[in-house]
């Protein structure tokens, strides 16, 4: 069973996203901040198949978290979530990082889940 980490400071989003992923057959871990996510990575003995990172987080943001994960754990399977794609700086940063991203509000059945299935399948293959 594939493991997915969701990092978002909105409990409602974490809950809904988690329910969807679990109903689609994924194992789900969640964190409310970058610091929580780092702590989870330090204690886990299994890295996730993908980490969904919200960009705007309390404390360090999603981009910084992605950098830490890459540097400390050599983990680069991150997918960004953002409500700020309309902001020029956020948009430029996302384009520059060349990583997948989803704009909120998330469309689970038509966008997020099909993409995750394909992404994880390709990575495992």
């Amino acid at each position: 069973m594939s493991l997915i980490l969701i990092v978002d400071d909105e409990p409602g989003v974490l809950q809904t996203f988690g329910d969807w992923l679990e109903s689609d057959g994924y194992e789900v871990a969640s964190a409310g901040s970058a610091e929580e996510a780092m702590a989870w990575f330090r204690q886990t003995n299994r890295f996730p198949d993908a980490a969904l990172l919200d960009i705007k987080l309390p404390g360090a943001n999603g981009f910084e978290l992605a950098d830490w994960l890459s540097k400390d754990f050599d983990f680069d399977d991150v997918i960004f979530l953002t409500a700020f794609f309309w902001e020029e700086e956020t948009r430029q940063e996302l384009v520059a990082r060349r990583r997948p991203y989803f704009e909120k509000p998330l469309k689970f059945t038509h966008e997020v889940l099909p993409f995750l299935r394909r992404y994880i399948s390709e990575n495992q293959g």
Binding site: E10, G12, F17, A83, F85, W86, E87, P105, K107
Partner: protein
């Protein structure tokens, strides 16, 4: 508008205007001092030159008369005496009847004029003036054909008292209607005994008109003799100045300097001093004609440098106009600046507000859409009204999402707000003509 920015904007404007005003005022004051000093120096130089010229002219006038009277003395007894007097007089008269001196005559030891006397009632051809011309001139100078003093004993006495004296310039003497002075040469026999004198009589007023007045426009001037008799004063300031000069005891000192200068072959002495005239300070410039007369120009320092003052006034007017224009331009700029600043503040506030709204709404919509999609996904088959409601909820979510997206575009300046046409699904925003719709991921 933000009060702080409003206050700061106008305070900056006032500061700039004040600084500009200070610079202009400083320039004005500096220029004022500089122009005044320069004008004063130039003016004093002109006064000095004019006084030197008058001094020389007075000197020449005196020595012309002295030379002529001395010459007449040498020819007495050789020619017809009246003819000799007339021949001398014609050098001082003009065809129009104007004469520089009142007359020339031979004085006996008793101090009386001899019958050969010639009053200035002849023209330059030695002919008597026409009756009509004489009558007209006598309206101004009733004494014209009889200008003589009752006695010239003072002339005789001066030559008797000083057997070495070669000429005499008398002090001013009050005669009917004017002050006169007499220039004389002694008539002595071969043993040196005094036989009489030859005189020329002039009116100081006439001398002033002939020699000095053309250069006195706008100047306060006075002329005084060695005894302190005021011969000419052009105005009240001149009269006050002469009175103060006399009372101060400066006259004997000036005349002593004049005598010393004359002995050195100069026209006379000169100098300047500061006088207090009432509440004002005045500058007095004086020259002596040897030790006979003193001519002085007095000027109130406040009235000096009129040309400089006019230039200064023009500069002041230009500076004032410049300041007003600067203030107007600064005011207009400040208004524009504050309006622009205000718009920038509005944009910044809108952007921050949009960030908050967008973040919250998009997260909330994620939850709602997740639940909505979950229901749609999990419900088996068509559930009638419930399925329709879920579809309607999805449409509502998309509407909210579109609205938030419009707000985001508005905060980015990608669309302009319009105030009409907002009905139903029509957006209240329009794309700016020169901006494409921003990319939405």
């Amino acid at each position: 508008m933000n009060r702080q920015i409003f206050r700061d904007g106008w305070a900056f404007f006032l500061l700039v205007t004040l600084l500009a005003a200070m610079v202009l005022a400083g320039s004005y004051l500096w220029l004022r001092v500089d122009l005044k000093n320069e004008a004063l120096r130039e003016h004093r130089r002109q006064v000095d030159n004019q006084l030197n010229l008058w001094q020389e002219q007075l000197y020449d006038a005196k020595w012309d008369s002295v030379a002529d009277t001395s010459d007449d003395v040498r020819h007495l007894g050789s020619y017809d005496e009246a003819r000799l007097m007339a021949d001398t007089l014609v050098w001082y008269v003009y065809p129009d009847g104007h004469a520089i001196i009142e007359g020339t005559a031979v004085i006996d030891l008793d101090g009386r004029v001899r019958p050969s006397k010639q009053a200035a009632v002849i023209n330059d051809a030695r002919e008597p003036l026409a009756p009509a011309l004489l009558a007209r001139l006598k309206k101004e100078k009733p004494w014209l054909d009889d200008p003589w003093l009752a006695s010239y004993q003072f002339v005789i006495k001066a030559f008797q008292d000083d057997p070495e004296r070669e000429a005499l310039v008398s002090p001013f003497i009050q005669a009917p209607g004017r002050l006169v002075f007499v220039i004389a040469a002694p008539w002595r026999d071969q043993s040196g005994a005094l036989k009489g004198a030859v005189i020329q009589q002039q009116a100081i007023g006439q001398l002033f008109n002939d020699v000095i007045k053309p250069g006195t426009h706008g100047v306060s001037l006075w002329i005084m003799d060695a005894k302190g008799t005021l011969g000419v004063a052009t105005d009240q300031t001149a009269r006050e100045s002469a009175s103060i000069f006399l009372a101060s005891g400066a006259l004997p000192q000036a005349m002593a300097k004049g005598l010393k200068a004359a002995r050195e072959g100069k026209f006379g002495a000169g100098g300047s001093l500061v006088q207090g005239l009432g509440l004002k300070t005045a500058h007095l410039y004086w020259r002596t004609m040897e030790d006979s007369f003193i001519v002085a120009v007095v000027e109130n320092t406040a009235g000096l440098g009129a040309q400089g003052q006019r230039t200064l006034n023009r500069f002041g007017a230009i500076a004032l106009i410049s300041l007003v224009l600067l203030a107007a331009a600064g005011g207009a700029y400040t208004l524009l600046y504050l309006r622009r600043e205000n718009r920038m503040l509005e944009k910044a506030a809108l952007r921050r507000y949009t960030g908050t709204v967008s973040h919250r709404v998009r997260n909330s919509l994620s939850v709602i859409r997740g639940v909505n999609e979950m229901f749609q996904h999990k419900l088996p088959g068509d559930q009638g009204p419930l399925s329709t409601g879920l579809v309607n909820a999805e449409t509502a979510i998309e509407d909210i999402e579109d609205t938030v997206r419009e707000l985001e575009r508005l905060s980015q300046g990608q669309v302009d707000l319009v105030y009409d046409g907002q009905v139903g699904k029509a957006s209240m925003y329009r794309l700016h003509p020169d901006k494409k719709q921003g990319g939405q991921g």
